[in-house]
């Protein structure tokens, strides 16, 4: 599988805080990469930089949209927006920030379709209903307002609203953060199934090693803006080499 997304030598500072220090990482089609680390490690900054939401101070992000790897900086604002609108997806940690709570569930799911040019109400509605079923929300709730949904339902709605355009690359920022454990399990299961079935490439940020083990093929461990260890998920977690990785793995509470 060819390389879909590649970061080379990313640097980013916020004031005096070094968020990214010479970070390089790559992702292939249909691959799931987890970025693991604690708060302040730079993992969210890395995710946002990969997704084109933040411009790095140094280095660049390259994406292969079918014509070879090209830097995001060469895309232009409109090109990047169009990419983010349909071929890419971004699942945020807080679904309330990503959804419109005063627009119906169907409208929320249809939004990306409409933003990409969909102009047939019936088709949009059908796609929305199908995706509600995919994320295990009763399709009869298509006209309900999300402000009455539970946290887990909101997150599933966000996932539906993100995947409806059939993106090939999805970024996820702690998609199960803040949810009850049983709800988390359901959503992780959903993500796992959808990602495999749709052949998505995914970059997922998580502080939860269990999530990384469940979902990811490969893993990078971040500390203070640097990648300290990288490799196959099971290898990094079962045979951690770097001191920080060993600490992370040892800190997981057994059930």
């Amino acid at each position: 599988m060819s390389i879909l997304l590649e970061a080379r030598g990313l640097d980013k500072k916020f004031g005096r805080v070094v968020a990214l220090d010479n970070v390089s990482v790559s992702l292939r089609r249909r691959e799931i990469l987890a970025i693991v680390g604690e708060s302040g490690s730079g993992k969210t900054t890395l995710l946002n930089t990969l997704a084109g939401r933040i411009r790095p101070d140094g280095g660049d992000v390259f994406y292969d949209g079918g014509a070879g790897l090209r830097p995001l900086s060469a895309l232009g604002e409109l090109g990047l927006r169009q990419l983010q609108r349909a071929r890419w997806g971004f699942v945020q940690q807080d679904p309330r920030a990503a959804l419109r709570l005063d627009i119906t569930a169907g409208g929320n799911i249809g939004e990306r379709l409409m933003a990409s040019g969909a102009r047939h109400y019936g088709d949009i509605r059908e796609a929305a209903a199908a995706w509600l079923a995919e994320v295990e929300i009763d399709p009869s709730r298509i006209d309900d307002l999300p402000k009455h949904f539970s946290g887990g339902m909101l997150q599933r709605l966000q996932i539906a609203a993100t995947l409806v355009t059939g993106p090939e690359l999805v970024f996820m920022d702690e998609p199960t953060g803040g949810l009850d454990v049983s709800v988390q399990a359901r959503i992780l299961d959903l993500i796992r199934g959808l990602v495999r079935r749709l052949g998505l490439a995914v970059v997922i940020v998580t502080h939860d090693i269990g999530v990384a083990r469940l979902l990811a093929d490969r893993l990078v461990v971040m500390q203070s803006g640097r990648i300290v260890e990288a490799g196959l998920t099971d290898q990094v977690l079962d045979d951690p080499h770097h001191e920080y990785t060993q600490l992370l793995v040892a800190s997981v509470l057994p059930a």
Binding site: M1, R28, E31, A185, R186, L188, D189, R192, R213, L214, D217, R218, G231, L232, D234, Q235, D238, D239, H241, H242, E243, Q246, L247, A250
Partner: protein, 232 residues
């Protein structure tokens, strides 16, 4: 089929003040088509480490593990991640000692997923999965349930089913029958021998001497002394 040589593996335990454990010092082993090889030795001697190194679950410091994959010999120690994933999907099977239960996925789906990953149609995969689970004595009423609530032995049998549903050119087995009774143990022996008859190379750790004798043709003995490794 598989040839490992010059395997050196140390564990540097940063959290224990930087203690270094030299577990593998130049270990070597191989397995040919249709051959069964047992790794034996006292606990702590490195046999489990060696087995995991063959799967790249542990990463050796130096050494070579050549595996016959898609017609060529590939060194999995230096292979890129995507090649390793491919090898683990097509060529190298691994049965761990315990099942890592994923919440909400039924036993049948866990077993069928392995086949579906290989490209088998979902219906066919589920059919084959049902048969395999039955063969390993998992009652039909359990097929649709997630294994998290199963007994240790039942979980291990699901684990075994997940691997044996596919044909593997090379199979790595880590104490596959440890939690099984005699009847199920015999089923596993048959499964392993059927795989061998199809040309699979088997490398495993078998505590149970009866199993070991039934499925392996030679042993590689690991010794506790970290400065010597002997081959039986």
């Amino acid at each position: 089929m598989l040839q490992a040589s010059g395997l050196y593996k140390s564990f540097l335990l940063h959290l224990q003040g930087g203690v270094r454990l030299d577990v593998l010092r130049g270990a070597a082993l191989s397995a040919a088509k249709g051959e069964g090889v047992a790794l034996s030795g006292p606990s702590g001697s490195g046999k489990s480490t060696a087995l995991r190194a063959l799967y790249r679950n542990y990463l050796v410091d130096t050494g070579e593990v050549l595996v016959q994959h898609r017609g060529a010999m590939v060194d999995i120690v230096t292979a890129p991640a995507e090649t390793m994933i491919e090898i683990r999907r097509e060529t190298l099977g691994y049965v761990s000692q315990f099942l890592r239960a994923i919440p909400r996925i039924s036993a049948l789906d866990i077993v069928a997923a392995a086949a579906i990953d290989r490209g088998v149609a979902p219906d066919e995969a589920r059919e084959a999965g049902t048969k395999m689970l039955a063969r390993l004595g998992i009652a039909p009423r359990l097929h649709g349930l997630p294994p998290a609530t199963f007994s240790g032995g039942e979980q291990q049998r699901v684990n075994l089913a997940r691997t044996f549903i596919c044909d593997w050119p090379i199979l790595l087995l880590d104490e596959p029958t440890a939690s099984l009774d005699a009847g199920n143990r015999d089923v596993v022996i048959r499964l392993i021998n059927e795989a061998k008859a199809r040309g699979a190379a088997i490398i495993g750790i078998f505590h149970d001497s009866a199993v070991r004798e039934a499925v392996t043709d030679r042993q590689i003995h690991f010794q506790l002394d970290p400065h010597e490794k002997a081959m039986a």
